[in-house]
Symmetry: none
Subunit: 218 residues, 2 copies
DNA sequence: TTGACAGGTGTACATCTGTTCACTAATTTA
DNA sequence: TAAATTAGTGAACAGATGTACACCTGTCAA
């Protein structure tokens, strides 16, 4: 069956996903056209029609911004590092990240080792969330042990006191966030470890906020 | 500061969230109006303006469906347990027990205050499992905090070192199990508390073993 | 008792936005 | 080599959608 997606269609689907994540609402045809330098709304409409026909996208006719990426669409995008549902049939599953390879986007498929089911109360936005297996014991006083799984909402900002997931020099870490005097300090919750002060030159990326913790005792 | 949300505003914010989750794109003013039986788009616009002013929502002017719930908005909604389906037929849901009334069987419907979704790896046998909201801080060194939800497998036996749920004089407690010299001792994991020695006359019932812990940080 | 606020109504209108039509060029496939 | 497909262009238009204005009722606090 040759119901495959063309490069251009994939680019457009990816733009729809990114636009939605950045803005909280989908793009209009004119938004898509502006991004790709397409001067005709019909040119965009043609691509969307194909994406709908191939079941990568669903849309409501005669309704503005009524675009919604299907499960299949997300699977295609997961190859691009854009992902939501790992298992199409389980709405409560999140992709589970184990070892995170340096140099790759965190949601790269090489980092995903499975999925985990979590209660929706732990989720902000499921499509913007993932699960991460904790390594190390730096957060035990916050009740986060090695081997625990934390639920993470992808966001590039945090408030003081939030437990966050960050990437420092390629290493992924879970810590408590503190911003003080325009400086970011990552606080462990274990006397064995020192706070990490993020200097200007640090290769630091805030990945998200921890919104839940789960631990298996079987 | 009295920057609080009114009941009606919260209802509208909740509708926006639910609509977004169900449809993949936000509602229009007319969608919101139709849902609430409001005949004027200006009535809805007034509420949205207030939600924006109070920073529960952000919106783009002169742009359709350009609504996005803010972090603060999601925090408000988390108090409502804004959720996907938490239904009994959900294979990942367990009954959630909160306050346990003395004198009633623990699975009595009066004790069940809802349900919680858990990963199957935490389960021995789902039909013999339930979830329990933790009260008290006696187990914090085991990474079990007040308000956490523990997954419990119903069983009347335990091994040394198991974290168990037991009922003593009608009170439900979570502790570490130790059987020594034919005597049962329930060990807290907090220096503030003393071990509980179960005497022959104690009104003691072992209810089950803790097989998982979940904690919501939203 | 009065003013502020919440929660609207009804109407008009401007702008956003999607659909439709006729058309073209380049590439791919049979 | 011709047909099919991809990827658009340009224009017109219909409908969706948000904004703005004047207004109303009920509740609550000063």
């Amino acid at each position: 069956m040759k119901q495959e997606i063309t490069d251009r269609q994939k680019e457009i689907l990816q733009f729809i996903a990114e636009f939605g994540q950045e803005n909280g609402y989908p793009p209009s045809l004119r938004d898509i056209a502006a991004h790709f330098g397409i001067s005709s709304t019909n040119g965009v409409a043609g691509h969307l029609e194909k994406l709908v026909t191939k079941n990568f996208l669903s849309k409501e006719s005669n309704s503005s911004r009524a675009l919604s990426i299907t499960e299949k669409g997300w699977l295609v995008l997961s190859d691009e590092g854009l992902t939501s549902e790992k298992e199409a049939d389980n709405p409560f599953a999140l992709p589970l990240l184990g070892r995170v390879a340096a140099g790759f986007p965190i949601m790269h498929y090489d980092n995903i080792e499975g999925s985990v089911v979590v209660d929706p109360s732990m989720l902000r936005e499921r499509k913007d969330s993932f699960a991460l297996k904790v390594k190390g014991d730096s957060m035990i006083n916050a009740g986060i042990f090695e081997g625990d799984i934390v639920v993470v909402h992808k966001q590039i900002f945090a408030s003081n006191g939030d437990i966050v997931v960050a990437q420092i020099d390629g290493e992924v870490t879970v810590k408590t966030y503190l911003r003080k005097n325009n400086q970011i300090i990552l606080l462990p919750a274990n006397e064995k470890y020192e706070p990490i002060v993020i200097s200007q030159n640090s290769n630091f990326t805030l990945i998200g906020k921890v919104t839940g913790v789960t631990r298996c005792l079987n």
